[in-house]
């Protein structure tokens, strides 16, 4: 039996990838869910995107408010993961292009801790609390 000739040469070892932008977003969504004991759900949905870009949106879903949805941030990135284009869906900051994980996490932190997002979370938690009291 003749062995097949290797025309591929020596294959490169898998490149060490930086943290996936989508995974970071999902982790932050789960963190919000955990911090609010499930009153607010941090949910990440993937979206169809042309030009070979992947896109995801992090949004806050409120089960006790008939699944009300507040969209927080949208990300788009290519096969190389970075740079990531971050769109602030609350309209409070300009879209940003983040070249590194650190830039990306900083941008997300700026959006999540903005006065707008804080006031939305506060308002939603108040609504949830009121709904809960009415139901009791």
């Amino acid at each position: 039996m003749t062995s097949t000739k290797n025309l591929w040469g020596e294959l490169p070892a898998p490149r060490e990838l930086p943290s996936l932008p989508n995974r970071i977003l999902k982790e932050q969504g789960s963190k919000l869910t955990e911090l609010t004991s499930g009153a607010l759900i941090g949910e990440v949905i993937s979206q169809d995107q042309s030009n070979q870009l992947l896109a995801s949106t992090l949004r806050i879903k409120v089960p006790s408010l008939n699944n009300y949805i507040f969209n927080v941030v949208n990300i788009k990135y290519g096969i190389n993961l970075y740079p990531v284009t971050v769109s602030d869906l609350t309209g409070q900051s300009q879209n940003g292009v983040c070249k590194t994980v650190e830039d990306y996490e900083k941008k997300l932190e700026n959006i999540f801790t903005s006065p707008k997002v804080k006031s939305v979370i506060q308002a939603l938690l108040a609504q949830v609390s009121e709904e809960t009291h009415e139901a009791e």
Partner: protein, 275 residues
């Protein structure tokens, strides 16, 4: 009757004038875009003019300075979705079927090209369809400043608003495009473009030194799902050009020095939501 007024006030102090329109036309739902006035000051002007109370729940959730004011009880209003450029509220009624009111303020052509505007529109339509699925019905009215004309891709494409000019077409409900059922909107603003239409030639005037220039644009529009068409009569759609002694037009364009660079629009639907 349910009457909805939309006005992009272009960051001007126009809440008194908007309140005057609410009084004159007996408006139930006021929607403002680019309003810098506080909710409280607008509510005060509304109360002074109309002698009724308008509530402003959930405005802290919306963006792009979209504000809703309702002449309904608090328990009738439920927030459905807020996304960049769109806020959707459900009006629940003990007397009639609930409706979804979506207010939009899409990105300006100054900051977004056609492709960007169309991409934004697709996301917005996804939000609408999700809200409809969640609400369990498609009785949706979309009103606002689309920053696109009725004939542009974001308004016409099947995977965007899918807004058509004919009620007969819209009443078919959906259309199959490459194996996907796409819901229709009816866009009556197709009939409000140019000199031969009722009212002014458009709702927004812009002139630049470009080869292609429309001058008048119909950026402010209202779209209806087929489920609301029986509640609509064409005479119940108005582009408002004056109120009292306030004239929103000069001899050939908008009087944007005194008022907004957009005209207010109003629609009346023949449904009684709240007694």
């Amino acid at each position: 009757m349910t009457k909805i007024l939309f006005w992009n006030v272009n960051k001007k102090q126009l809440s008194q004038v908007a309140s005057q329109i609410c009084q004159e036309y007996d408006i139930d739902i006021l929607v403002l875009a680019e309003s810098l006035n506080s909710d409280v000051s607008i509510q005060k002007h509304l109360a002074d003019k109309t002698q009724t109370t308008y509530i402003a729940p959930f405005n802290e959730l919306s963006n792009r300075n979209i504000k809703f004011f309702f002449r309904y009880p608090t328990e009738s209003i439920q927030p459905a979705t807020d996304n960049y450029g769109i806020s959707i509220r459900e009006i629940k009624s003990p007397l009639a079927e609930s409706i979804l009111v979506a207010a939009v303020h899409l990105s300006s052509k100054l900051y977004a090209d056609d492709n960007e505007q169309t991409a934004q529109t697709r996301q917005i339509v996804q939000s609408i369809e999700e809200a409809e699925e969640n609400a369990g019905h498609s009785r949706t009215v979309v009103i606002g400043d689309f920053n696109m004309n009725p004939f542009e891709k974001g308004l016409v494409d099947a995977d965007a608003f899918h807004g058509v000019m004919s009620q007969l077409t819209a009443r078919k409900g959906t259309r199959n495009v490459r194996s996907t059922q796409r819901k229709f909107f009816y866009n009556p603003m197709w009939g409000r473009m140019g000199d031969l239409s009722e009212g002014p030639p458009g709702t927004y005037y812009y002139q630049a030194s470009k080869n292609f220039e429309l001058f008048w644009n119909t950026f402010d529009q209202v779209l209806l799902r087929p489920g609301l068409l029986n509640a609509f009569r064409k005479e119940n759609l108005k582009v408002i050009t004056e109120i009292g002694t306030n004239r929103f037009l000069t001899s050939d364009r908008l009087n944007k020095d005194e008022f907004s660079d957009h005209l207010p629009i109003m629609i009346e639907l023949e449904i009684e939501l709240v007694a």
